[in-house]
Assembly symmetry: C2
């Protein structure tokens, strides 16, 4: 029988292929927009878009490969034995993550969350998250995301 | 805002690309070998290898796309609102699923389960699952699979 450790060392992920990233994110990715109270901001709320991929720590090298692939984001502990690759910068999300998934569409229903996520980023680029009305609009879109995934 | 339903209709998965399948299975796939008591068989045990991908029912079309991609297997309800694509035939596993992942290696630690799965299929092709000693060897390999994934 093969020695799994040896095989592991031999087959590091290296540079990822675009379609692998799409398939993996279709399975494991999450597009999320948090809206938190923030007394110091004009409209009292802060909009926090986030692209995340969570994995068991034994596959942390895949998260670093994603970080290298997108050229942005961080790898941090999520909770317990799970790690997360996370992009929170609006610039990085708009200039790197969104264009990638525009060019290489997700195949799962997760793409509907992606469309909403992209729309919220557009509204933020227009400064809508700094107005009470814009916040309401963003909140409405965000509240319809990540529903019905059954987990 | 885009109409998600329209976008969904527009972007059916169609024919999958190999690397998408690898990425998706790295995230969502499972290689499992069940060993069940079976009084009618010579060695009293039946070895049941199985390749499975489970998804929320809203992405059932991806499971049918996988079925078309591998040209084998079935799509069935798993439990509650989740569906499963499943290949159980030893011939289909040996001739279609295993060669695909030999040619397009998994990037996650799931490939260690795949190597064990492939080894068990080889032993079955040699008839080892029909001998008490072979069953013990298979049981030993199978018991070390799907551990430490943290879910």
């Amino acid at each position: 029988m093969e020695n799994p450790q040896r095989l592991y060392v031999r087959s590091r992920p290296g540079r990822l292929e675009a379609q692998w990233v799409v398939g993996f994110v279709d399975g494991e990715g999450c597009f999320f927009v948090g809206i938190n109270p923030h007394p110091e901001m004009t409209c009292r709320f802060q909009v926090l878009p986030e692209f995340t991929v969570v994995q068991h720590q034994r596959d942390i090298q895949l998260l670093y490969a994603l970080k290298a692939f997108f050229g942005c984001g961080v790898v941090r502990r999520n909770r317990e034995d799970r790690m997360a690759y996370r992009v929170r910068s609006v610039d990085h999300l708009s200039q790197r993550v969104v264009p990638f998934f525009d060019e290489h569409p997700l195949k799962s229903k997760k793409r509907i969350d992606f469309f909403k996520f992209r729309r919220i980023l557009q509204l933020m680029m227009q400064g809508e998250h700094l107005k009470a009305e814009g916040i309401e609009r963003i909140r409405e879109i965000a509240s319809s995301m990540n529903t019905g995934r059954g987990r």
